[in-house]
Symmetry: C2
Subunit: 278 residues, 2 copies
């Protein structure tokens, strides 16, 4: 009987040691998370001036962002094909990291018929307060739990002038006559455009531009940091396509003679592309 | 005629500016690559002491690595199920980063019948010199090009004492009698074991432990840095399975600091972990 008790005591002592070890491990995990944040801050700090330099250079390359966005397959998943007419007018993009999670995206559009030259800035911030969500019926309990634990992107709506051509689906215009037969259909169509993304808040699931957070993250994590890689790949694709069927793409020829850099520079140095190749 | 020439001149001037911009962009890319390296070095520097601390704590948690490795589905893809008997004896693992690409993995094994307690260290280094490869006939030109551009992992063979039980497939023993009928079959079987990985060089494609680089990278990129996450997940899985199957082991449900560690304290938790084997 007393032996039994001693065994239990030993077990309990072992348990105590084990729980201490597990608590220590949990502290380590917290330290590692903080290190992650610290490393990210460091990355942002030393990357920012180089991105600023890059921004200036890109502004000298015609159709840079058009080329990147036209060929980026994930980007195409977020917006209707017909929108590319206006996406093509994006002259430059600038991302500013506010901290490890929050950022500003600025889009600089060239003008076109029925669409003015304009720059639009949209800020994205991580939020963990799920009470701010206006519609939660489309979210599962697990999704809500994840959102409160890891946070979710939110954004204030910002003004953007829509193309005249889109008047019939422009939500602002439509809202002046909600009795119209086609109101709902047109409103929904408008909500899916790239322009509706600028009104996206992250708080009205199912009632605004769909997956606005995904599009924001795509710019932040992939399109912006890896734009040069995407540009080169896009240029190769275009060159390949040119090779395959000469007649298909003609009017692009004037921007660069195919981004086959060696043919481009007229100087015979086996240039940059090789170094940039990923 | 002269007008034609002027247009060409303008075009050529534009081309020159464009190629300068593209060269500048390529310089930016190089800067960004260097920043990546710099950030990685920084990460290694500040992570190392915390990993060292973690190593000490883990040594106090029985079956920590056994639990992690038993449930890690990717790890199980690299070695035969029968090897887990010995993988379970891994008491602790230590990774030391030498630089951004090179690292040492140390495995500390407990002893068992026919298998001595031992610690084995294996060093992995990135190499870009494809002339070092001894067999290239199984590699495509594209693979070789990638290897020379991005490098490939290599490693010096290191000694490990194989389990007595594996004498019949132990390559060192087999090589003393290559005339044996079953030599090839047994040799090949031995080559696929976890123990053969310690002889892996990365230079003899198709003639040594398969995908040794993948296994090394798996430890470096996932298993080692995220071991606590894997441990907690594994423990949850084990608990779930216990709950689902029946109450075969009814020990005290002592949740420790948020982890559901009900089974951890019981030294006789053999059955639950075995079930996890894939």
């Amino acid at each position: 009987m007393s032996e039994q008790l001693t065994e239990e005591q030993i077990l309990s002592e072992e348990n105590l040691q084990l729980s201490k070890a597990l608590r220590d491990l949990s502290d380590i995990e917290e330290k590692l998370e903080k290190i992650d944040e610290q490393v990210n801050s460091y990355r942002i700090k030393i990357t920012t001036p180089v991105y600023d330099e890059r921004y200036e250079i890109i502004s000298k390359i015609p159709h840079f962002w058009k080329t990147v966005l036209q060929v980026h397959s994930d980007f195409a998943d977020y917006i209707p094909v017909s929108n590319f007419k206006y996406v093509d007018l994006i002259k430059n993009i600038k991302m500013t990291m506010l901290n490890n999670t929050d950022f500003i995206l600025r889009f600089e559009f060239l003008g076109s018929e029925g669409f003015p030259e304009q720059s639009v800035e949209k800020t994205f911030k991580l939020c963990k307060d799920i009470t701010k969500l206006k519609y939660t019926n489309k979210l599962t309990d697990d999704e809500l739990l994840d959102m409160s634990e890891f946070g979710f992107l939110t954004s204030e709506p910002v003004d953007i002038i829509w193309p005249k051509e889109y008047d019939s689906i422009n939500p602002d215009i439509l809202l002046s006559n909600t009795k119209d037969d086609k109101f709902k259909k047109n409103y929904r169509q408008g909500m899916k455009t790239f322009f509706a993304w600028f009104s996206w808040t992250g708080l009205k699931h199912g009632k605004e531009f769909p997956n606005g957070d995904g599009l924001a993250s795509l710019f932040m994590e992939d399109i912006y940091p890896h734009c040069l890689k995407h540009y080169i790949e896009a240029k190769r694709d275009i060159d390949d396509e040119k090779g395959a069927s000469d007649s298909e793409i003609e009017d692009d020829e004037d921007d660069i003679e195919g981004f086959n850099m060696s043919s481009l520079t007229n100087e015979n140095d086996e240039p940059a592309t090789k170094k940039m190749k990923k």
